[in-house]
């Protein structure tokens, strides 16, 4: 008999002796993960993170620190008869995620707090907590797949293309990936809900979360204003050609590529046959929002910093790809992948040259790289620090 017999989580231990920590948010996905693993007979421990004062998000003082999601998670854990703990990461989350979110908007960028959260709180602190509890792995409800091929652990897109979350996991390190498990990666959301029904979970019909957790109604500007009172300065909205078209209440309300809600009275571009105007540049220092035609958003070269790579053979790749490595890239979560050449620069920097220009690339978002031969294999990425447009 082979001593390397592995269980469904890829661990060489009998199922009942394999301890798994499940990161439970109180939503359907992670609840199903906990239920599935418990059903299989694993030694499951649920952990839920208290990340922010729920009263802050609801603008209500005196509400319980925890939102309904935490109570849902506790209820599911009790129903599944698994140990469950709520960990307080409020201070850390405020420092590492919320403050960064506010400062990033103030600097004219468009941040992705969910990546920062994965990078810091979830895959650093929660992961080490799981290890402290003697767990063999940490399972989450992300729709991505983890595959071991030829001794290398790959991170692939989730089978459900609509739900794929690989974009948000670009900063996952190889070491973290070795310890992580994503049991929903091979399933569709419909299948997940069916399983929730089968396991009679009370959260079966709970709607998917759409927003950033601490911005429940999508009004991120309100949150930035509460985090940084007094730091937001009104300014002017200027056309690329120099004309002043109106005023704004703070650059934080604008994102590169934004067309709607510019607060310039639906004014069209007179010079260019009445075509719509887009935000083409945000000058946070001068408190100016620059608008122009769509063509001014065209961007073909993207600079990345703080890159993280999951290439199986990084050094070879770097050496052999002096002329640029053929890859696919995704420049925002909702975009599709497009072909590009990847160049490794000094330090933790890199740049991408797109085959065809793209429009409305915002700094602060991530440039996520997929394999040039198989666009379902995610190979890492970096934060977009610069995406020069034809207008500049």
């Amino acid at each position: 008999m082979s001593v390397n017999l592995k269980n469904t989580l890829g661990i060489s231990k009998p199922v009942p002796q394999t301890r798994v920590v499940v990161a439970m948010s109180g939503g359907v996905d992670s609840s199903v993960v906990a239920a599935m693993l418990k059903q299989e007979g694993y030694d499951v421990i649920g952990i839920t993170l208290q990340l922010y004062d729920h009263g802050f998000a609801l603008k209500e003082k005196g509400t319980c620190c925890a939102g309904a999601d935490i109570h849902d998670a506790r209820q599911i854990a009790a129903f599944l008869d698994i140990p469950h703990y709520v960990l307080d990461y409020e201070t850390l989350f405020k420092q590492q995620v919320m403050d960064d979110f506010a400062d990033s908007y103030l600097a004219g960028h468009t941040p992705i707090p969910c990546v920062k959260c994965n990078q810091t709180v979830k895959f650093k602190d929660l992961l080490s907590m799981a290890k402290e509890l003697g767990a063999d792995c940490l399972a989450t409800g992300h729709y991505v797949q983890r595959q071991v091929i030829g001794g290398h652990t790959y991170l692939r897109c989730g089978v459900d293309a609509q739900k794929d979350q690989s974009y948000f996991l670009f900063a996952t390190t190889q070491e973290q990936l070795d310890y992580l498990r994503f049991p929903l990666g091979s399933m569709t959301k419909v299948e997940t809900r069916k399983l929730a029904l089968k396991y009679e979970l009370s959260v079966t019909d709970k709607p998917d979360s759409q927003d950033i957790c601490f911005v429940p109604n999508g009004r991120y500007g309100d949150v930035v204003r509460r985090l940084r009172p007094g730091a937001i300065t009104p300014g002017i909205i200027r056309h690329l050609d120099g004309r002043i078209l109106g005023e704004h209440q703070g650059v934080i309300d604008y994102t590169i590529g934004q067309r709607r809600g510019l607060r310039i009275g639906g004014r069209k571009d007179e010079a260019e046959d009445n075509s719509p105007l887009y935000v083409v540049e945000i000058d946070a220092e001068a408190h100016e929002v620059i608008v122009g035609p769509q063509s001014a958003l065209a961007c073909q070269k993207i600079y990345l910093d703080e890159v993280n790579w999951l290439f199986p053979n990084m050094i070879n790749d770097q050496v052999q790809s002096r002329g640029g490595k053929d890859v696919f890239v995704k420049l925002r979560n909702t975009a599709s992948t497009s072909p590009a050449k990847l160049f490794f620069d000094n330090g933790r920097k890199a740049h991408l040259v797109l085959e065809k220009p793209e429009y409305g690339i915002a700094t602060g978002q991530a440039g996520v790289v997929y394999d040039g031969k198989d666009a379902t294999i995610m190979l890492g990425g970096g934060w977009i620090i610069s995406a020069p447009t034809s207008s500049v």
Partner: protein
């Protein structure tokens, strides 16, 4: 997994067998003590028996006890209608949140209320003719610290202000002498059944004769018009039976001080930096508030749960989140306030269990420190 060892009596004690038996016997017949008929009379008798049992344990006039839904309701009722409330920064939330406008007097490093500060505050609050009440707990739920009740009474009597004490954690652990203390100015005291082995959801407010009390719940005028609502008779009977059973508390508590000392010495031998937050101050013997400089409380509590020991960090939100303790913070522990755990034992424990916890804590500490 074997049944975990329970060392969190200050959160809630196991239900005493005497309370279980007593409540079981009563269940079935209709039990409205206000009814005129046989069933009503019988229920009334059960209520009054319980009141006498509680009175015996707390050495207070039975008619002073108003049964409530618990310690929280008792504290809220006590403080409801006074113009000004002066309390202590380390009180339970059932006091602090009952009167958010209360002035909070600080504590010394060992958890004792700052008496000079209290006196100054009384003088200030009384100066405009306001009706003032001072509310200070007899035993702190997180640290076990015993507050100097005689001195507190002396100060309040001298200044002619009312004095309420949350005695929830004192009953069954140290002598409670309501009648004696009322002669020195005690106005009201709060109690809770589930801390002494009665059922949760029942408590009492004791009011010294001649003192008036506010009505939090208005309605049918039960409890001599002082607390309306049909009485929780099973709970009240269970409370009485537990009080009766706990009256020999000195017997099972006689070794507690020894257990506590041995536990602390064992830990300090392994890691001298581990400390009792109250140091050598006067505390109830069943409670140990322990500072683990290298391990956050949430990790200690979770690790111990995984190993079969039920302990706490003293302050848990209803979400189950372990949060920084306002009590420990007020004692000046600052950044280390999140590194304090609470061990509280009781009549079902033995020294082997407490010693086993010490071993598990030492092993965890070693793991975490490296």
């Amino acid at each position: 997994m074997p049944q975990p060892i329970y060392l969190d009596y200050n959160a809630s004690a196991p239900l005493r067998i005497e309370a279980v038996e007593c409540m079981k016997r009563l269940m079935g017949p209709p039990r409205n003590p206000s009814s005129v008929h046989y069933f009503g009379r019988n229920s009334k008798l059960i209520m009054e028996t319980a009141r006498n049992q509680l009175a015996d344990l707390a050495a207070g006039n039975p008619s002073g006890f108003i049964f409530t839904s618990g310690g929280t309701e008792a504290n809220n009722t006590a403080l409801l209608e006074f113009d000004k409330v002066i309390t202590c920064i380390t009180e339970h939330d059932a006091t602090l949140a009952a009167r958010p406008d209360a002035k909070k007097v600080g504590v010394k490093r060992d958890g004792e209320i700052n008496l000079d500060e209290l006196e100054t505050q009384i003088q200030r609050d009384k100066s405009d003719g306001s009706e003032v009440i001072v509310s200070v707990m007899l035993v702190n739920n997180e640290t076990g610290r015993i507050q100097p009740i005689e001195k507190l009474l002396e100060i309040c009597q001298y200044h002619g202000v009312a004095f309420h004490s949350d005695m929830v954690q004192a009953l069954g652990k140290i002598p409670v002498k309501l009648d004696d203390w009322s002669r020195s100015g005690l106005t009201m005291a709060s109690f809770s059944a589930h801390k002494i082995g009665g059922p949760p959801g029942v408590g009492a407010l004791w009011v010294a004769s001649g003192s008036r009390v506010s009505k939090l719940l208005k309605g049918g005028g039960q409890e001599k018009g002082r607390r309306s609502g049909t009485e929780n008779i099973y709970g009240i009977a269970g409370f009485g039976a537990a009080a009766n059973a706990v009256s020999n508390w000195k017997n099972h508590a006689k070794n507690w001080a020894q257990w506590r000392n041995n536990f602390v010495s064992k830990l300090q031998q392994a890691y001298p930096e581990i400390q009792v937050t109250t140091r050598d101050a006067l505390c109830v013997d069943n409670t140990i508030s322990l500072l683990l400089p290298a391990v956050p409380a949430q990790i200690a509590v979770i690790s111990m749960d995984m190993e079969g020991f039920a302990i706490s960090s003293g302050a848990a939100c209803s979400s189950g989140k372990v949060q920084e303790s306002h009590v420990i913070k007020a004692m000046g522990f600052n950044a280390l306030s999140s590194n304090v755990i609470r061990i509280s034992f009781g009549w079902e424990n033995n020294e082997d269990e407490i010693s086993a916890l010490a071993d598990a804590l030492i092993a965890m500490y070693k793991r975490y420190k490296k």
